[in-house]
């Protein structure tokens, strides 16, 4: 059986660092996190994939694989994957009251990571990677103590240096690392750094920013 994310075998000379980031992400998703088991995390990934693939459908017309996740976790997973632009303070408060902020952020990190990796395959025109098999173990319970209410739905690290968005998931360090490792490799490329905003990629900076801004706009993302 070939290793996951064998982009060269699909005819794409994807940088090794991106391939490794994706492989590492799959491995991390399959393991226990801070609040969810490996089994639950892979179920989040499965639900997120299914929801995003049906994002053009009305919510009541979507079908999902069966799952043992709590209802609140399913709602959070599917909404972030397929209807993120509809999220508001009221909805977030209701979900966080059900599952608590740390587990909420951990789910968000899995959803956004699967979204980015699946979207990359779609952009290239290749099949989605098979989701990983869950690994045993118990969640660590680790949460960042150095957080404050800065006006978001959840506490975030404060003070903070670097791009502001990079602290969005900082309540749960492992969750933040899962996604930001992909940001570092997929956006700040070729020795550039997301933190330093150094741009060395084969696209010009205006080309990259035009594309990024259009994606944000189509998603109706204010941020």
């Amino acid at each position: 059986m070939s290793e996951p994310f064998d982009y060269p075998a699909s005819g794409f000379a994807v940088r090794t660092s991106i391939q490794q980031a994706h492989q590492n992400s799959w491995d991390l998703i399959s393991k226990p996190g801070s609040f969810w088991t490996g089994e639950e995390r892979v179920q989040v990934a499965e639900q997120a994939r299914a929801a995003r693939l049906q994002r053009a459908e009305l919510p009541f017309n979507r079908d999902y694989p069966s799952s043992s996740l709590p209802d609140g976790a399913l709602e959070v997973t599917r909404t972030i994957a397929a209807d993120a632009k509809k999220i508001n303070s009221k909805w977030a408060s209701e979900q966080i009251a059900l599952i608590e902020s740390g587990p909420y952020i951990e789910i968000a990190s899995i959803v956004v990571t699967v979204t980015a990796i699946d979207a990359f395959s779609e952009a290239l025109g290749r099949e989605h990677e098979v989701l990983p098999s869950p690994q045993p173990g118990e969640p660590s319970g680790e949460q960042n103590p150095s957080v404050a209410d800065i006006g978001g739905y959840v506490p975030m690290m404060e003070p903070w240096k670097g791009p502001n968005v990079a602290r969005a998931l900082s309540l749960v360090p492992a969750a933040n690392a899962l996604f930001m490792s992909n940001v570092q490799e997929m956006y700040a490329s070729n020795g550039g750094s997301f933190s330093d905003m150094v741009w060395n990629g084969p696209l010009s900076r205006p080309q990259a920013e035009l594309l990024a801004a259009r994606v944000s706009s189509v998603n109706e993302c204010f941020y």
């Binding site: 993120a84 290239l124 941020y223």
Partner: protein, 127 residues
């Protein structure tokens, strides 16, 4: 913000219009094709194959792979921002005030989070 330093990198108004579906993308090499590709990846549109082929015809293999990576990771980044409700930092909020208004970005649902942040800090509302 995710439109972020594009206020510097894409400085002309006509090019900023292109980010919200307006004209001006053609002023950047392969700009129209990059916009179409980003839209197709984001929407999961039927024309993704066509958009991909058009872009691949204009860019080097390395540049196309980078475009694919950027389109993909920004579909994750927007969900990060929307799900966490992270407000704009103060300097970005100030520096982006004009083009947010010009482009209608303040009408996007997540704008309320930065309003809440401003109120949270006792400042002035941005709209």
């Amino acid at each position: 913000m995710l439109l972020r330093e594009s206020s510097q990198a894409i400085s002309q108004d006509v090019e900023l219009d292109a980010t919200v579906g307006g004209k001006g993308a053609e002023l950047i090499p392969a700009g129209k094709e990059l916009v179409a590709f980003g839209e197709a990846v984001t929407k999961g549109a039927d024309d993704l194959d066509s958009a991909r082929n058009s872009l691949q015809g204009l860019l080097s293999k390395e540049a196309f792979l980078e475009a694919a990576a950027i389109a993909a990771i920004f579909n994750g980044l927007v969900r990060t921002a929307d799900s966490s409700g992270i407000p704009l930092d103060d300097s970005t909020k100030k520096n982006s005030e004009k083009f947010r208004g010009d482009l209608g970005l303040n009408n996007f649902p997540g704008a309320i989070n930065t309003e809440r942040h401003t109120q949270h800090n006792g400042g002035t509302l941005i709209r």
